[in-house]
């Protein structure tokens, strides 16, 4: 008998404020009009891109707190993570805030991870206001995981483009806004892919695993959701996920999509689509939240995936493990 991985929240924590900030390229993408703030340049007035990423997280946190109409002193704890080694963007950003901090690493699934943990803390009445945040930056991720920016190399068609963006939201036990009703905590899944330029294929099995657990544990089917969205599987990865799910007898229909696949326009030539923590975080905290608030979506399954690799492990020939956490967000007063 498979173990239950899904938590149902009795008190249904409310997302009372959300904020998204993106880079100029992302601002020209398909979600451009929904973001709260589009930066004029990738460096955001800072000397290095790492500092820019840090500033993006800080601004997202401040923005979310303002939109939630609470004071920074009301915040109890910050849950955040990013892609850089030792999650420096989040931890260094947290230096400037006067609340408790819990650093999380779920690679590109961090937004769902922080919301799942945050919702559990709020649901258990342990904290009143929890801020969840994550960010990624194209230039910092590229340097850490791939090649220098100015190197004249070609990217394979499966490669994805790390989203420059940060998202944050504030959870509270009561208030107006979409509610988190369930969370499925994912297992680490590895199907033996070792091509770092093909993250979609590496993470798709993790998404399948978590979605199967979720549908089984919660007794729902894909048709129960207005939108099922994965984070950054990209074009190839989401096609693989559809195939994998079909093999398991579950059909993902038109209500399924992938943030990375939708993120950029065709002219932006990002090959397989967007990726990175910021990819799912900015789409959730802009487009999806807006649609949940105005009632276009009633029930959304948000399931971003993360590739838990490091350059050291990859260079030693290890395969890429993936993880996927899923949360269910419902609109209106529940």
């Amino acid at each position: 008998m498979a173990k239950n991985q899904t938590v149902k929240f009795k008190n249904k924590p409310v997302i009372i404020g959300s904020y998204s900030i993106v880079g100029p390229k992302e601002g020209q993408g398909n979600f451009g009009q929904y973001f709260d703030y589009v930066m004029k340049s990738d460096s955001f007035g800072e000397k290095t891109y790492e500092k820019a990423e840090r500033k993006m997280i800080q601004n997202a946190i401040i923005g979310a707190i303002e939109k939630a109409k609470i004071k920074p002193t009301d915040v109890d704890i910050l849950l955040a993570g990013d892609l850089l080694n030792q999650i420096i963007s989040s931890s260094y950003a947290a230096r400037d805030f006067n609340f408790s901090y819990l650093g999380l690493f779920g690679a590109c699934s961090t937004m769902a991870e922080s919301l799942a943990v945050g919702a559990s803390l709020v649901d258990g009445k342990l904290f009143d206001h929890v801020v969840c945040s994550t960010a990624s930056h194209f230039s910092t991720a590229e340097r850490q995981f791939r090649f220098p920016l100015e190197l004249g190399n070609q990217r394979p068609p499966t490669a994805q483009w790390t989203v420059t963006g940060a998202g944050a939201c504030v959870l509270a036990p009561k208030g107006h806004g979409p509610r988190i009703t369930m969370a499925t905590f994912g297992r680490v899944v590895d199907y033996g892919i070792n091509d770092v330029n093909d993250m979609g294929a590496a993470m798709a099995p993790a998404a399948m695993d978590t979605l199967l657990c979720h549908f089984r544990d919660s007794n729902t089917t894909p048709d129960d959701y207005d939108l099922i969205v994965t984070g950054d599987l990209g074009k190839l990865g989401s096609e693989i996920l559809i195939d994998l799910m079909e093999d398991q007898g579950i059909k993902l229909g038109l209500n399924y999509n992938d943030c990375g696949q939708m993120y950029y326009t065709r002219e932006q030539a990002t090959l397989s689509g967007g990726s990175g923590c910021g990819c799912s975080a900015t789409v959730l905290n802009s487009f999806i939240m807006k649609k949940l608030r105005d009632g276009s979506y009633k029930k959304v399954l948000f399931a971003p995936t993360g590739a838990l690799l490091s350059t050291t492990a990859t260079q030693q020939g290890d395969t890429i493990p993936g993880v996927c956490h899923a949360i269910v967000i419902e609109s209106g007063e529940g």
Partner: protein, 148 residues
């Protein structure tokens, strides 16, 4: 065992699913841009010999290389070379300009980590293997010459 089989099957499935790069357009682009760079080199060489008729041909080669390396480095610095490289692929990697680009680009990237530990150490992260292969093969060739 079961897991191994599953992974093999999955890898096989993914391999079949991956969109293929079309080799002919990429080959064509790298051929003509690579050729263009070589023509440029030859042109620079001819010009040097035209302006300095007394220069030895080998010295002119050295100056040609210096000019090409400078040009590639400069284009890398102003953010143009990577765009050409994205289009031309091997055509811009194989000539000496590619070597110049592979040293300049990490130097730019890591300069914020300090002159010595950033710039100087990381400068050769990409070009390093090429240099090692060059030195090792020259040792081998030297040994062969020693014994014949």
């Amino acid at each position: 065992m079961d897991e191994k089989k599953r992974n093999e099957a999955y890898n096989k499935y993914v391999k079949a699913k991956i969109p293929k790069t079309r080799p002919w357009p990429s080959l064509f682009n790298s051929f003509w841009i690579g050729g263009l760079i070589c023509c440029l080199g030859q042109g620079i060489n001819d010009l040097i010999l035209l302006w300095f008729p007394n220069m030895a041909e080998q010295t002119a080669w050295a100056y040609t290389l210096i000019v090409l390396i400078f040009l590639a480095s400069f284009l890398t610095g102003i953010g143009v070379y990577d765009r050409i490289g994205k289009f031309a692929g091997g055509g811009t990697i194989v000539p000496i300009t590619g070597f110049s680009n592979s040293i300049t680009s990490p130097a730019l990237e890591f300069k914020h980590e300090g002159i010595i530990y950033g710039l100087c150490v990381k400068m050769f992260t990409i070009a390093g293997p090429v240099i090692v292969v060059g030195i090792v093969s020259s040792i081998l060739v030297g040994l062969v010459y020693l014994f014949i």
